[in-house]
Symmetry: D2
Subunit: 357 residues, 4 copies
């Protein structure tokens, strides 16, 4: 048994099997994958990694299982390993490659860690555990850890979620985790925390611009999935720094020095995917990598679908909590798409866009 | 005016000059210099960097100056920039190169940041400010920030230091910061925090072994001062990973995968520097990089020398506080030197050492 | 200068004039007035008093004034003394007597504290300061302190409000405090904190029932305004314990022993004030003090009216923040009125009520 | 099952038997017994009561038992009820009456709560449980809760004790709780926290003077053990306020208004018990209740005797930790005895004392 200190959960206990999973190159690599990607350019203290988050998810999963011992043990280790497949800077590059969940399975199949798993579980069995509602449901150990962890390291919305109360009020009904009546406010606050972090952290413009620049650099460099899937952040950044293409080196240097592109368009009005695709093409032809279009997906707020048991009946969280409904209705208010350009061409891009519309 | 969130100090306010200093490649590089080097191998959440620490030091310096407006303004910006010269992984490599304070001056002289400074101060003047007691005294803004910050991120001894009380009870007497009577306990607790973190964090064996391995790798690779002085951690690690020497690559991989050397000797008994030097030579001849000697300097606890004003008289903190005296007397109790060896040769090293003595 | 520790604000500095105001019987009495009345029957740790809250309000007022030095100094001391007139158990008994603000003026006029004030201000002037927007506006030092303090001691919604950011973004425009753009989220979260504490703390049924019982006891005992206005909680409780009327003693003992009345009606459906008044009369005739009607006013959420400056224009917080609008729309959702009865008559009251409607 | 929020421990779970014990007049009375007596005159926020502390002790006892299921269940409920016999203002009056542990047994024998206990345990059995090392050992649930709780509410030394680590490293060996090697630092810090709170909180002069005045008032009033043993703080204070003796009323009013006696003697030099007794007699004859001698016992630091298991051997904590030895050696440094006098006679007492020696 090993005890690791965590600023959120106090002491995290690791049994021997967990320790052996952690002591593999694949898991240790998570120490070099920042949880919030480039958000630290806006929140300098947001330097936490997928490593701590994975330990935290394991810890919360164990706590939920204390109250629901019928949950299969494999789900705990799935909680520990669910993020193995993240690419450097977490979600930043995910649009360019297969989703990280898919890569997690690849890493397990091909890494040392697969051998450790196979001592207890067949991989087929384990892959099923990765989809267990405790690990990947509407309210699960993963979400609970990252929402609270991100809040803690950025200072936004921290303290909002009463983790103790939530955990004590999650009941496994054989198929899913159900929030019982006394946990409704705690569950609602998960969504509240998300809705508060969405504009201020997850969609902070500094982080979005830097991320868009990085995506562009990776595209220009032409890094394949075969290459990226085992890279850590040191591999990626040193690759871009040492690129043969000056525009790639330039983008990377600009991110390093925090000399970011400027916003030409930044708006909540959605012209529709097609218009944006067209615009992107036109801009690329005209300005190359000096102007970037950033059109993120709308937020999902999946917690709203969580099942809640009120007066003996199963309902959706959004049916039960008027505040949740309000948050879901408002969720797109803070969504923004944008066009960012290098300082020198900013005005030209502006003129070009005006002509275009 | 800009406001940056910090988990320790809440909001840190930055004036325009500070913002311009921060917006230079030299300062941004500090984002990629981990405050506690490889300590995160023992305390996963200890991922804070010199960047946040520098902002925090600036913030505390400003707070002390609120109560002592006679302190020259330049000392504040010196507080902000005092760590510019740190090498990758902070103190880890300092034994191989000039002290980081010297490198700070080099960076200022040769970087963009020097140009910003020169708008307000001559470099000569500014270099003097870097030695101001507010920045580098027995009790100063630097120590206050890092002791509390390290405590926070590792969870060891956090909450011990009453920063508010200490700051309010620091008085500038024209020459130095003097702790007034009501601040004695707060000052004593700085030392207490250090004495508690010394064995558990600063000298944690995991971190010491990994550091010794890294130092060995850098020695073998033969990185010059001219090269290292502007490197960040990505530069360093990717250089070692891509080394032409297999033993360098091997050491780096072992650190990445946390497959660390094992302790053969680990003891508080000090055989004296000469014996250790001899031993080192013998071991190197026999085992090359497979066995490493780690003989760290004894801890200093400089806070004990801080001046305290009690009943109108200036005294040293150690004169006034019996607990401080006790801590100073005990300070070498937790010092350890060690010989670490790769698993495969561990027993051979043990036998060899036994023959040697 | 005196420094007092406060778990929320760290060190609170008191200048000499503040110390002299505090060192009066009228201010010391606030140590014996619980901030949240009988809420501690539901939240045992909610034992904070008007004393700490008053110090905290003073502290926050001073911090706001640091950024807005044009605010008159008198407003600070008004912040310190604004709650002098609270009755035992704070708002619990306020329906029976003049509002506590009126009593504050009475206490100042007739207490030692008035003499201290008069050394610097005329009472007329000081009474005007008590209405200063810093002390009693839509967003003011009073609200900021109590919302965060109540959150802290009950553990509900704590951490939600970024006090630092809010304070730094309050601007005095000569007439009122205006929230500037960067403070909107922090201001919104004040309202969010209130809306979260409203059902769980401020309207917790245990506290409401005990309060209704206490009000009934005080009514039966017939304590006059002349008597109550200088009482502390010890005076009140010992008076009720020692009452000549057995029903008063019985109610007090039941509160002491937490043997509370039970809910017969507890509903969000509002039958209108007239119906409730009628019902109250009928119940009183039939059951005397054994059944109590509790019909609280609807919540106000005055923060919604705070002025915000967005893009150079003054707007109301509710215009700017869709979440605030949602909270205001939902604010009556958690309002409840109730009929509570002693265990023994509970069923009889139920039957009686069914007949009545 | 009931969940109560506690600012220290998060959620405290109460089983049905615990709830029934708590729902008795004897336990509810603890809500009106302040944990730190009159310390709130120096630390306004120190308003926590024996009620919360008792819940906290129960909670910690349960956590220790999770790791040591062989501990008898009765010890848990003993932890919950161990402080039932405290007099108003906790230890303040203990010198005048039988120790509170004795009174705890009396309360159990004669109160409703005894009936609840007897459903599960014989009183004889239960009284034995009250002495269980988990409840009253050198390191026990009681000490752990109150040291951390007092630290929290006063802000002194908070955060010092790593409760998680300590609890996980307490092992029941059938006879006592033994600290295992990894818990030594956490155990040492309990003692450190005590040694830091001793001078600043437990022996704060404001609290000591007010306590000495209260003891004097109770002596003058002549309250018997039969009376005090069921009183709460409201009973006591209203009794003293309504005393027929003007000197009693005067003392009580002075405490209420915080117009405290002044220090004439306050020193670390111990003249020995006999001299002090003589002095007390002389002063009483000359000045009656206007001058009070306060000669507290020396601190005990019992944690030093805790058993620790190091390398398979049982040792005392003080043998193992040099810091603990230092603290024990220094423990009397901060002890003070004093003579306090009413402002008006202060100088006369000073002269009188000078003549006497």
């Amino acid at each position: 048994m090993k005890l690791i200190h965590d600023p959120l959960h106090g002491g995290i206990e690791l049994d021997d099997f967990a320790v052996r999973l952690i002591d593999t190159p694949e898991f240790q690599r998570l120490r070099r994958i920042t949880q919030l990607g480039l958000a630290y350019l806006a929140y300098p203290s947001a330097r936490h990694t997928r490593f701590e988050h994975s330990l935290g998810t394991f810890h919360l999963a164990k706590r939920v299982r204390t109250y629901n011992p019928e949950i299969e043990e494999g789900a705990l280790y799935a909680a520990l390993l669910h993020d193995l497949g993240h690419y450097p800077l977490s979600h930043t590059l995910e649009a360019l490659y297969p989703r990280h969940e898919e890569n997690t399975r690849w890493v397990i199949k091909h890494g040392e860690i697969g051998d450790v798993i196979r001592e207890r579980y067949s991989l087929k069995e384990f892959f099923k555990s990765l989809k267990h509602p405790l690990v990947s449901g509407d309210i699960d150990a993963d979400r609970m850890d990252y929402l609270v962890r991100d809040a803690y390291y950025t200072g936004v919305a921290f303290g909002l979620v009463d983790m103790d109360r939530l955990i004590r009020n999650l009941r496994w009904d054989g198929e899913r985790l159900v929030v019982s009546e006394k946990g409704v406010i705690a569950a609602q606050n998960l969504l509240l925390a998300r809705s508060m972090m969405y504009p201020t952290v997850y969609q902070h413009h500094t982080s979005k611009i830097a991320s868009a620049m990085l995506v562009k650099a990776v595209e220009l460099e032409g890094i394949s999935y075969e290459e990226i899937r085992t890279m850590d952040e040191i591999d990626l950044v040193s690759r871009l720094r040492g690129s043969e293409k000056p525009e790639v080196r330039g983008l990377m240097e600009a991110i390093d020095d925090r000399k970011l592109y400027k916003r030409v368009v930044y708006t909540n009005e959605d012209p529709g995917e097609e218009v944006v695709r067209e615009l992107k093409k036109e801009l690329e032809e005209e300005f190359g990598h000096l102007a970037i279009v950033d059109y993120p997906p709308k937020p999902k707020f999946e917690e709203k679908n969580a099942f809640v048991e009120v007066g003996g009946e199963l309902k959706r969280l959004s049916e039960v909590s008027p505040l949740v409904r309000a948050l879901v209705e408002l969720k797109d208010t803070h969504w923004r798409w944008g066009v960012y350009a290098r300082e020198e061409v900013r005005e030209m891009v502006e003129v070009f866009l005006k002509k275009l519309f």
